[in-house]
Symmetry: C2
Subunit: 424 residues, 2 copies
């Protein structure tokens, strides 16, 4: 097996045991980039020379930490002190931040090698840049963490940081057939990550395994790496179709229904739940909160660089945000908080909620990143979530299964999701 | 009256009517800076040349907005694209960000003239830089928004942005005898403001009047400026001594008790409330949450610039944060949210809570910024708050009265606080 196909955890074990060097792993990842990235365009910046130097140095050292010698990438709205950060916008072509974002510094502290910055949509909003889905390059990789998902799926890097404000980690991970994870909102620090809409913005992880999610989660929380274990007992599952079920692609719906049966057969207790009727207003609250915040966060760009902002962003999120009164914004925030008080009832005798990750597989074309509708229900609840790449369409396109845990329940969510993944 | 002594609202009216030019106002502010700032050291950077140019240009234009021609300053952890931002740390001496923070861009959009960056404690934590209290230069101005409060109090600028993670706006404003305000946590965007502890960080305003707070609040929310009015009817007041009452200076306690009597006489209904006993744990939750987040946010500085971090910060907040397990952090977050569910009961038939702003007037010495204890109760509740400069010690040192409103109740809090200020 090519080193570039290993998960971060597998590669870390191989490096620790002396079977693999960081340099060889990095070379293998770079080969994938040189081979594929002219077409996929996952990377906005590849720091091949400095990353190789770092890898060679790490090969001379005893282990610095859980990510020792492992290449990683970061979405290009995450600052790095030694390579440019462009936020997906021509305004900031080659802009050089003065610091490393918290997540980059912590990954480096654990021995990780920052290989480059991955393409983001414009300011992590809807307007895509030129990344293609490596599974089918006629299709979008999803967004806004387009390059992070494409790079992990294409074997260019085992782990990449993304972010999510609506569905910007779950959607591209699902479209590209990899694992995506967002923690309970607030668990991971956002220092050095450009704010889109602070109420919702979360750092997300894109990996090739749940074990890798746990690995990176542990280092971001600054705690010792835990050996990852599948939950020894089947989780209590609540299957939630949500009010968007009729918008989910038919084949995908039947795959999910079949998976639910398999999980029951494998020993899980599964009940079906409906969301409180109030939750139908969550997408609207999400829209007003995120648009209101976005339109104010980008005041400098709007005033000084208006002509460099895409028409889609101007006429979409920004116009939306400018049309939202403060009163509507405050009401939306209060509504979101009241909806969150209903979360404990959702998880009554329930360990995880299982639902669709997206409405469909990756659509054809790269001029849009696909629907984020499912995220607009779950993101305002602040729940931790993963997407598992467990389905494929007859054409071979990936589809994910989304698994959500209760607030602060991330450390149980991951082993429970592993049980589900293992049983499918 | 010197133009430098006007409030922003007064100056804006004088400029609009042609009685004053932006250039004359700026010159008057600069004179104060040239005269006093060698000793007070409120400013980390004064952009006198470019600010004068901007003021002259604005004098040629019809009004751009509510802050047309008015100088303002921003705490030096708030990014500006055209002047350095040092975050109060030698690590970033003369560092140049690529963008304007949302608050700076929005103030400029309204015609405000960024006059400079005001001194912050190191990364908006406890270690002071060299600012002195302009009321008595042997004393601290408080922190972490030290320079913002000192500059407004010394007539160097009518309005300055600060931030608050514990009590970093209320305390310096109270110590320097000016108005300080923090909105409901989340109302003002933090894009371009260096994160200290994202759960608590809020942009704060330091001004010479409540009217100015409303003026700047409106422009940050991107809504038309409202004519500021004192509440036509007396507010229903809950007087809360809190469990810290015995730590409040005796003279200050008696001033507050007297003020409560005056407010009753002026027609306000005043009841006394005790905080729920659970709230005694809020300061500890605040400590763990803020320290946990801080220690992870500054991973880059810890790893790359350790020797340039003050011993106080290393051994204080950072050590504290590194000793906090993720489990304790999650529990503290959950506890904070459960405490917040008790807020509606606190405001039952109550418009505002009145309490002390600080434990005392500004202590002697500039090697510390004074106790932030009172903030560690109120900040975790996310409530909007103002401090009113309504008391003075026999030595002439300012003391504030803190007035808090319910979540999202900012627009009523300000007129109610004005009623209180007017009645004292």
């Amino acid at each position: 097996m090519e080193p570039s196909n290993l998960t971060a955890s597998e590669a870390a074990r191989a490096i620790a045991s002396g079977e693999l060097t960081s340099e060889a792993l990095l070379q293998s990842c770079l080969e994938q980039i040189y081979k594929l990235d002219k077409e996929v365009k996952a990377f906005a910046h590849v720091a091949d020379v400095s990353a190789l130097e770092t890898a060679r140095k790490l090969d001379q050292l005893s282990s610095k930490g859980a990510l020792h010698g492992i290449p990683f990438a970061a979405k290009d709205i995450i600052d790095s002190h030694d390579m440019p950060t462009s936020y997906g916008s021509a305004i900031y072509a080659n802009a050089q931040p003065v610091t490393d974002a918290s997540c980059i510094a912590l990954a480096r502290r654990s021995g990780g090698v920052l290989l480059g910055k991955t393409v983001t949509t414009e300011f992590a909003n809807l307007t895509p840049n030129e990344t293609r889905n490596p599974i089918d390059t006629n299709r979008t990789p999803g967004g806004s963490s387009s390059g992070s998902a494409a790079a992990v799926a294409a074997g260019m890097v085992p782990v990449a940081f993304g972010t999510q404000t609506t569905q910007s980690t779950i959607r591209p991970a699902a479209f590209c057939g990899v694992h995506g994870y967002n923690p309970t909102t607030g668990h991971f620090r956002m220092s050095g990550v450009r704010e889109a809409a602070g109420t919702f913005d979360r750092l997300g992880l894109i990996t090739r395994s749940l074990e890798d999610i746990q690995l990176v989660r542990d280092l971001l929380l600054l705690r010792p790496a835990n050996t990852f274990k599948i939950s020894p007992k089947p989780p209590r599952i609540a299957f939630c179709r949500s009010h968007l079920w009729n918008e989910v692609d038919g084949f995908y719906r039947s795959e999910i229904e079949t998976a639910i049966k398999q999980l029951r057969i494998a020993g899980a207790s599964v009940k079906e739940i409906e969301l409180p009727s109030e939750f139908k207003s969550l997408p609207e609250a999400h829209r007003w909160i995120s648009s209101f915040e976005f339109a104010r966060n980008f005041a400098f760009e709007i005033d000084v660089h208006w002509e460099k902002i895409s028409p889609q962003l101007r006429e979409g999120r920004i116009a939306d945000g400018l049309s939202c009164t403060p009163e509507r914004y405050f009401e939306s925030l209060a509504f979101m908080r009241s909806a969150m008080t209903m979360i404990p009832a959702l998880f009554d005798e329930t360990d995880v909620i299982v639902t669709a990750s997206t409405l469909s597989s990756a659509p054809i074309g790269i001029e849009a990143t696909g629907s984020a509708a499912i995220g607009s229900i779950w993101t305002p609840l602040h729940l931790p979530c993963v997407t598992l790449p467990v389905f494929k369409t007859p054409e071979g396109l990936p589809l994910g299964l989304q698994v959500l845990g209760p607030l602060h329940g991330d450390d149980k969510l991951l082993p429970n999701a592993a049980w589900i993944e293992h049983s499918l």
